[in-house]
């Protein structure tokens, strides 16, 4: 019995166990889920050790030059403090390390959101209105209408998520009429978008299901006489 056969058998059995969820939640599916989580955790732990902690922390501390050793001391201390989070009595000693992670993480997220999403999406929304000299009147008109629909959809979707409202004389709070109208249009665009996203996920899931059934069929055909 060669190793490839064993691995294919493992994949075959795990596929069957996971697909057994189609009959409802059952012990076989749970077994596959627990095995999957355990193997994934082991894999991630190995990757973190070999790809990050050893080359970026252990190696510079042991084999690095004085500058590298000095630079590796800070993350080593922060990591050691973070490990204290595992002990309930000493958990507060890990707070500075968490603060360091949260601070740098927040800065990276803000920077990414501004330069990646905000600027990129605003540029994308403006682009249809920048008509080129070579485009014909009909093309330019189509481009403008498309850009206008995109702009209306984007703005109205953003307005839909604006929930601040004024208190009226009768103590009731409600959004102003223009905001309500824009939010209504936004609701239409959100429903269409979520429908399209749902269709995309459904198509991808269906492709995966077909691929798995094809794998089961191929494996049975290969190994059965």
């Amino acid at each position: 019995m060669d190793a490839d056969f064993v691995w294919t058998a493992v994949a075959f059995i795990l596929t069957l166990l996971t697909l057994s969820y189609l009959l409802g939640d059952n012990p076989l599916f749970r077994l596959a889920a627990y095995l999957f989580v355990g193997a994934s955790a082991g894999y991630v732990a190995v990757i973190l050790l070999f790809e990050v902690i050893v080359p970026r922390l252990v190696f510079p501390l042991i084999f690095g030059n004085p500058t590298e050793k000095l630079l590796a001391v800070v993350p080593a201390v922060l990591s050691a403090l973070l490990l204290l989070k595992l002990f309930p009595r000493l958990t507060s000693l890990g707070n500075p390390s968490m603060a360091f992670l949260v601070g740098s993480g927040a800065a990276v997220i803000v920077g990414g959101a501004v330069s990646g999403t905000l600027f990129g999406q605003i540029r994308g929304a403006i682009q249809p209105f920048a008509l080129s000299q070579s485009s014909s009147g009909l093309q330019a008109g189509g481009q403008l209408i498309s850009g206008l629909i995109l702009a209306i959809g984007t703005v109205s979707t953003l307005i839909y998520f604006q929930f601040s409202a004024r208190r009226k004389a009768n103590q009731q709070t409600s959004r102003s009429t223009p905001v309500q109208m824009a939010a209504f249009v936004g609701q239409i665009f959100i429903a269409i978008t979520l429908g399209a996203l749902y269709a995309g996920v459904l198509a991808a899931a269906l492709t995966a299901l077909i691929e798995r059934f094809d794998f089961l069929r191929t494996t049975i055909q290969t190994f059965l006489p």
Binding site: L14, L31, F36, I47, V52, I149, L150, A208
Partner: protein
Amino acid sequence: MRAPISTAIAIATGLLVLFGAFLPIPVLLPIRQILLSWTIPVAATAGLIAILNLLSVHWRKLNSARERDYYSIFLLLAFVATFAAGLILSPTDPDFQKIVTHIQFPVEASLMGVLTVTLTYASIRLFQRKRGWLAVLFTASTILFLILLSGVLNIAENIPLVKELLAALNTLPIAGARGILLGIALGSITTGLRILIGADRPYSG
């Protein structure tokens, strides 16, 4: 003031990393790079702590007298086997990579396949419970985009106006998605800035 040292660390680190990215001050760039290079191993340690916590939870579940969970033993065994194999073989070894191709991939792909049935069932339940115009619009959009994704209408693209109509239909979800993306970005910026000014302190627990 609650946790002054941690707050000072978070604000100082965050502002140096943020200003290093946006302000044209030469001295800030190497400081930003050093801070980010420190973040990576600390974040990896946080990942290891999360895994250790997962294992301790399942160890406790296995030894709990009241609600013993026997499935936890499979999780612990799978972890030990994978971790030991990784330590012995190293992550780049083709035999170790088979854990991904023959354990992780089949389960992930099968879970994705199971999603087809659960999503369809969930959408039917949604339609049964909420029969408003939004549910109708959502369902119509789903069916329309399933047809578009299937490629059935690709044949009709040469017919005049059909191409334009399909392009216009594809524009509608882009507009909504752009609005949602901008909303997420604005929310992320607000949350990030609240941490950077010390208004939120999720690290002082």
